[in-house]
């Protein structure tokens, strides 16, 4: 079984945003980066499927040269090889550009399954996997919490809202977007890190004809929905003052 996992590199959770001079994007050079969390769950699911079914796991990413770091990390966790669509302009690309780049790089590989996270922690479109499925003319399912492969069929547990789920069956090849929490993540071992150094990262060119379909005209810190009363002081003082305000002003406790 041949499985692809699409991975994005995103700023770390504790990164403090800084904007470029035009205030249309972040200062990429100032950010620290990590693997997009839902994509890490997609990778883990692929590794588990390979353990059961045999075959190959190929990680793919479309991004600037810096994304080689998360591809290397995925190889250290156990992926067999990697494909990198490398272009310095891809850092702020929209979902059409990324999906177009990935589709072109994957075209000649006959993947049975393509997995990716349900959305990214940076732009958060929740579109790339679905657009990729359409570009490759594959069936798809989104927000998946269980994957069972049986012959040429895949059975998936799709998350609906408010604690509801649904089983969906489809023939492979297919594209699935994976929800965080589907499994328990593994981390790279020293042996894995050493082995990753010998694994292949194939560079794939960015296709010429993928125009962006949206443009950020302004990027700024969010406007507050409410006037927040910030309470300072030592923990004991702040706690006392909060209790007083909840009791006397907000009247939500006795």
């Amino acid at each position: 079984m041949k499985i692809a996992v699409c991975i994005k590199q995103v700023p770390t959770r504790d990164w403090q945003p800084r904007l470029n001079d035009a205030k249309t994007w972040i200062r990429e050079q100032d950010a620290t980066y990590e693997m997009n969390e839902p994509d890490a769950y997609a990778l883990e699911e692929a590794l588990r499927l390979r353990e059961k079914q045999g075959g190959e796991v190929v990680v793919c990413s479309a991004g600037p040269s810096r994304v080689a770091q998360v591809l290397r990390e995925a190889l250290a966790r156990g992926a067999d090889r990697a494909i990198h669509v490398e272009d310095e302009g891809l850092g702020n690309a929209d979902a059409f550009v990324i999906a177009g780049a990935l589709a072109s790089a994957m075209q000649d590989e006959q993947f049975d399954l393509i997995l990716t996270g349900l959305q990214s922690d940076d732009q958060g479109f929740a579109q790339t996997g679905v657009i990729l499925a359409e570009r490759l003319n594959r069936s798809h399912a989104t927000i998946i919490m269980d994957v069972q492969v049986n012959g040429g069929q895949v059975r998936v547990k799709r998350e609906l809202e408010g604690g509801w789920f649904q089983w969906v069956d489809m023939a492979m090849p297919a594209v699935l977007t994976i929800q965080s929490g589907i499994n328990q993540l593994r981390y790279a071992t020293l042996k894995g890190i050493m082995a990753a150094k010998k694994k292949e990262i194939r560079k794939s060119p960015l296709p010429a004809a993928t125009a962006a379909k949206s443009r950020i005209v302004a990027l700024y810190p969010p406007e507050k929905a409410k006037k927040t009363q910030m309470i300072s002081g030592s923990p004991a003082e702040a706690a006392k003052e909060l209790v007083r305000r909840l009791r006397d002003d907000a009247r939500v406790i006795q």
Binding site: R13, D14, I26, Q127, E159, F165, M170, K213, S214, P222
Partner: protein, 325 residues
């Protein structure tokens, strides 16, 4: 014309549809008072259509086709592609539900048209209309403009517009059936009936007070700290998604888009950064308190009271202050 795609399951309208109608009416005001129409698709869309006809819109268009029940992305994409070709809207508006996320990017890609998701507001930017959406887990907000020919697809975040703000007409509007061909044999997904997994023994939606924990709680062994505060407040204990994913609290205590939606009198968020998937589940709370070490955490945007600091110092102090008085 702005076309709103309504969402229904088994003849029951998803309330988020009215929010999308309210958003579409605001968008229409920004686009030279363009007309708004609503489309509802399914195998028996007529009941839902009469409900939607109360909206102040040009018309309600229905697609009744047995191949559309149950929902599949292939079926909906095929049907809506034809409907859009017949109706030629300038913009297609959808509520940002899980179902929309499942098919709308596919439909936009099929037509090779732009799609802007998770939009919270609409504004003018020069000659363009800009769509406001969160990015970087809510740390930044972006104004985004669609590029290329229409129709442009836009999905509105749940709770961004209020359902009761959707303008209603003085009399029911026209309901018009539209015929499209859907080849059932070309639908590749075979869905089964939806089911609920978690034992819904805890109904957080009825709780008056909730203490909710996020990643900032760090370890499962710290949960009793939050439980003690909840007990002192007479509150239910809840959590953001990562805590339930890790199994530190049961899934039935999860608040957010994939868990429960709550509206208590008091919501106390401990170490929760405030990613949008969490905020949609709790921003209807009357009074929101946030305790977080990061002063820039998005949770403070919706909080009434905030304390920046170490929850491991503040929470015991809070429990003591409640008990001591």
């Amino acid at each position: 014309m702005i076309l709103v795609i309504a969402e229904q399951r088994s003849g029951k309208l998803n309330r988020a549809t009215w929010e999308a109608i309210a958003g579409a009416q605001q968008l229409a005001a920004a686009q030279n008072n363009e007309a708004v129409s609503v489309l509802v698709a399914g195998s028996s869309a007529s009941g839902v259509a009469s409900e939607l006809a109360a909206a102040a819109v040009q018309e309600v268009v229905t697609i009744d086709n047995p191949a559309l029940e149950p929902y599949t992305p292939d079926g909906y994409t095929a049907a809506l592609q034809q409907a859009i070709a017949q109706l030629s809207p300038s913009t297609v508006v959808l509520p940002h539900t899980y179902q929309t996320r499942d098919f709308a990017p596919k439909l936009a890609a099929r037509l090779d048209r732009s799609i802007i998701t998770d939009v919270t507001a609409v504004k003018r930017a020069g000659n363009d209309v800009a769509f406001v959406r969160p990015m970087f887990q809510g740390k930044l907000t972006a104004d985004v403009v669609a590029e290329g020919p229409g129709p442009h697809f836009v999905t509105f975040q749940i709770g961004a517009f209020r359902a009761d703000q959707a303008a209603r007409g003085s009399a029911p509007t026209t309901v018009r059936p539209l015929t499209v061909a859907v080849d059932a044999s070309a639908i590749r997904q075979k869905p089964e009936a939806p089911f609920q997994e978690a034992r819904q023994a805890v109904d957080l939606s009825q709780a008056e007070r909730i203490v909710s924990v996020g990643r900032g709680i760090k370890e499962q062994s710290n949960i009793p700290l939050a439980q003690a505060l909840a007990d002192a407040l007479g509150a239910e204990l809840a959590a953001s998604r990562p805590i339930c994913d890790a199994g530190w609290l049961p899934m039935e205590r999860q608040v957010g888009s994939s868990g429960q939606t709550v509206a208590p009198k008091l919501y106390l968020a401990l170490g929760i950064s405030g990613a949008i998937q969490h905020l949609v589940g709790m921003k209807g709370a009357n009074t929101i308190v946030a305790i977080n070490k990061d002063p820039d955490a998005p949770i403070f945007e919706v909080a009434d009271y905030g304390i920046v600091g170490d929850l491991f110092e503040i929470v015991p102090a809070l429990t003591a202050a409640l008990k001591g008085s």
